[in-house]
Amino acid sequence: MSVKAFELVPAVERDLLMGDKARINIECIECCGRHLYVGTNDCFIHHFLLDEVTSSKGRLSYSAQKLLHKYLGLKKPVAELRAASALERLIVLCDGIVFLVDMVTLESVPSAAGGGVKIRGVTAFCINENPVNGDPFCVEMGVLSSKRRTVQIYMVYEDRVQLVKEVNTPEQPVAVSIDGYFLCLALTTQYMILNYNTGASQDLFPYNSEERTPIVKRISREEFLLAAPGGLGMFANAEGASQRAPVNWSESVMAAAVCFPYVVALDENFITIHSMLDQQLKQTLSFRDGQVLQDVEGKVMLASTKAVYVLVPLPLERQIQDLLASHRVEEALVLTEGAQRNIPKDKFQILHRRILQQAGFIKFGQLQFLEAKEHFRKGQLDVRELISLYPLLLPASSSFMRCHPPLHEFADLNHLAQGDQGKVLRCKNFLISYLGEVRSTDLVNGCRDDVDTALLKLYAEQDHDSLLDLLASDNSCLLTDSIPWLEKYHKYFALGLLYHFNGQDAAALQLWIRIVDGELRDSTRSDLYEYIVDFLCCSSNMEIVWKYADWALRKDPTKGVHIFTKRPVCKGGSEVNPDEVIAYLGKHSQALLLYLEHLVLERKIQKEKFHTHLAVLYLERVVSLLKTPKDEDQLTKAREKLQAMLRESHLYRVQFVLGKMEGCEELLLERATLHGKLEEHDKALHILVHKLRDFPSAEAFVVWASSDRDPLYRQRLFHLLLGVYLHDAPSGCGGSSEMEMAAVDLLNRHGEVFDAVRVLRMLPENWSLQLLRPFLNRAVRASMHASRTSQIALGLARSENVQLLHDRLKERRKPIFVSEKKGCHLCHNTFSEPSVVCLPGGVPVHVHCAAQRVRDSPTKRQLTNSSNHT
């Protein structure tokens, strides 16, 4: 539970001071640089020169050399000694008198005004270490006198003392301490803060001066340490408030001092050392007959009745290391952080980081990973320190060396876990999560390879899902180091990803193909084949694509062809030449078909070659299916595709396809379509009507062939069909009435297309009116409609004409002036000849301008069109 914060080192031994004179005791000490002054009860001052000696082992000791001793001649103990180094004076309290002696000669200083420099009736005094008055050649001193309830403030000069202030106190003061204007006083029954400048006072808390000696110790600017009832060391600031929690002393504490971050207190038998940071007792040293405890220039000096000691603080780092060695992480950190303001900033940062890292490893060793992580993070640990604990994780090529002195006591993970596999696993899982978190931060700058490779190894070993994420994203895994690991754990797919990431696509593909072909076992992806296809599809390296597409197509042509059909269309990138692909796909007919469909139907590439090729492939398929008549369904589908192709495309070479169809008697419909394409409608209709006797198809053909054509063309085709129905009918045969019915149906359905007069002339005399009623109805209505429309147009034209006549008459009544100075309203040029055109409203314009206007006017143009109709 204890820390070794201080070491007690003897400074002046007994024999140097008083030899064997038993009754001589030390009363007070003062130290100023190397000069040590000791006041004794027989009214002597001893002057020593004190030197620090560091032994070869680093142990500190002191050697004291006696310079002088001086009897003050008062036969009373020397109660108090204070050095005023700037004045080269010692301020001495002896027998109730304060006076000055020379620091070198120890001679009493005569007053400048004659007589001694003396203040009488003094019980205690103190020096202001933080005076408001900035004069370096005087010392401010607070004095308590035995008779009066006052505190006197004196200025001490080289050869005189001057009373500058006297303030009253409510009770007899017993002890005093000064900071700035603030007096911290122990009165008879209470402590108080008194501002001697303003007289304002602040009660602190009561105590009983009869029970115990008060302590008022200035510890820093405007902060005092007081002995409170119940053996407490209370802190109070000048405002009268406490900003630190008290420390728990014994009741008999007689002196205290602060050596940050510790409070050192002296009682009858012990020196106790508490931390101001957590108020805990940190160290206890046995010390008999303690007399004086005083902080001097960063160290604490003590005196027993017979000898003088120095309480040397151990280096902070050593204290912290001691704490860490006993696994007291929190205390070590509190101590480190508490020392922040006493250490230069850059040095502190280095120290703090190292302590945090060590603390992290201690917590890590205790498997307290949350804390460990926090410490590692704050301490900016080089992650490799942690990785290096795990055997074989760091790549062989890593240049990492563990930090020296070591941050922890572990050789490796096995040493730490002592063979407990559960522990090992937990440590590994911790490293996984920790590396996962830090790998994207600045912490891994400069060792990204090591971190990523370690992470990969852990993922592979632990069969972790994130392995693929790691490899699929930007990473720095070292290939050479990772290959054996991934192979060892059968992570071939992952290895492929790593190859790919390192630009070795061929290696990746070979590996994956071996998995698909069952040579290697890795069940990471059940859809690895599709993945490969996808990969090839997206690969811009055509060499690889050509090399491995063959394998994919052999495996599954329909999916394999996706390599070519699903390629992302990249702008600016080199498109794959379809001709090359087609040549490549030559031996994979199914894939070729799919690819051509993709080109023609999806990408709508308008190239005769592809269209013809596709049409021929369709045709070949139909033909082959016809030869082996098994599946009607398939045949129908194939024919539908072919027919659709023949109908929709305008690019294929019709004659060529037609030639291919020679000898295929079954494909009459297709031939008809082809004839239609060649505008050989009579041939087509002949096939449809006479060979196939498929009248709906014939009608559909006419509709299809005349779509997007002008009405006259359409009419011509319908008349052609009607003619075929009526005239080509083989007379006498039963089919004629069938064809006549087809003719009637055609007329009745598409009446509006026909020229009714011509139809009526064509129709046989014997047909009943009833039969043709729908057709005639439609024809009469269409004719009526046309006649009425033209009448309306005629009327409109007439009214326009009348309107114009009206305008003309109106304009004629008044003269229209044309001169060479007047401009034409349309072209704004002047007139050069008398002949002009008058626009409605009597506006004269050039003749050619008017003509131009009429030509350009949209209304006029419409008008000319409509007049055509009428």
Partner: protein
């Protein structure tokens, strides 16, 4: 960068006062560490820093023992909030607040907020008995049950004496009713010379808590933190308004206020 908290002066101070054994340290432990553990009698005092939003609030735990009574007014100096704690099973602990502790708060800020807290509510109130924190193990509960059988100081209480304390989870007699606390709150306001209407209402400032089960503990502290925020902001504003240039942030205007506080 190490984010070491500098020894910064807290923005506000909150002080727990009350007789010994009412559970001040336990309340603070429960709030800060989410645990109920055996505590020993506090010596002198202790304090914790709580980060509340951007502000640092220091919470002072004081010693209830008579011996340290004299230190109380020092702890209260400049306090923004005082929690006066009593034990609901002990009438005397409430009486002590008025007799001994109220005068200690004279040194607190003029706008100090007072809260009256009856602790150990789990012993009398079934609803406070429910654990609010899952980390309270039944094991440590029985431990404290025993710890709780400390000698009940039977005082000259105006209410009838409590029926003998039950040991086996039966409820103890509640000696301090909520109304008593509310009445005391009213007297505190009168003592402070505060207008009852202008001050925070008693039903907001009287709490019954259980450090053991965690009942109402967070509510207590967090209500107070929220209530002291305005005074923090006002103080900050005053400091900004003052023409003094603070060379060290942590020593803001200490001298100045030292003078003004004792006129």
């Amino acid at each position: 960068m190490p984010d070491v908290p500098k020894m910064k002066k807290p923005d506000a101070k909150l002080v727990l006062l009350g007789d010994m054994n009412v559970g001040k340290t336990s309340l603070l432990h429960r709030y800060m560490e989410r645990k109920f553990k055996d505590t020993i009698s506090t010596v002198g005092g202790a304090f914790f820093l709580k980060q509340w939003g951007p502000h640092n609030i220091s919470i002072w735990d004081t010693a209830g023992r008579e011996q340290f009574h004299g230190l109380g007014s020092m702890y209260c100096r400049g306090a923004a909030a005082v929690i006066l704690t009593y034990d609901v099973t002990n009438w005397q602990s409430l009486a002590e607040l008025e007799e001994r502790f109220l005068s200690l708060t004279d040194t607190a800020n003029h706008d100090c907020i007072y809260a009256l807290v009856g602790n150990k509510a789990d012993l009398t109130d079934p609803k406070a008995h429910l654990c609010q924190d899952s980390d309270v193990l039944s094991e440590d509960r029985t431990d404290c049950e025993e710890a709780r059988t400390e000698p009940q100081v039977l005082s000259a209480c105006p209410t009838p004496p409590a029926s003998p304390a039950s040991l086996s989870g039966m409820l103890l007699h509640k000696q301090v009713a909520r109304e008593d606390a509310v009445a005391l709150y009213g007297r505190i306001l009168r003592y402070k010379g505060l207008d009852e209407k202008g001050s925070l209402p008693a039903d907001r400032m009287c709490f019954e808590t259980s450090a053991k089960t965690g009942y109402n503990v967070d509510a207590l502290f967090e209500t107070l933190f929220d209530l002291v925020l305005p005074s923090i902001l006002r103080k900050r504003h005053e400091n900004q308004a003052s023409p003094t240039v603070d060379l060290e942030d942590c020593r803001e205007a200490s001298g100045k206020r030292g003078k003004s506080s004792c006129c």
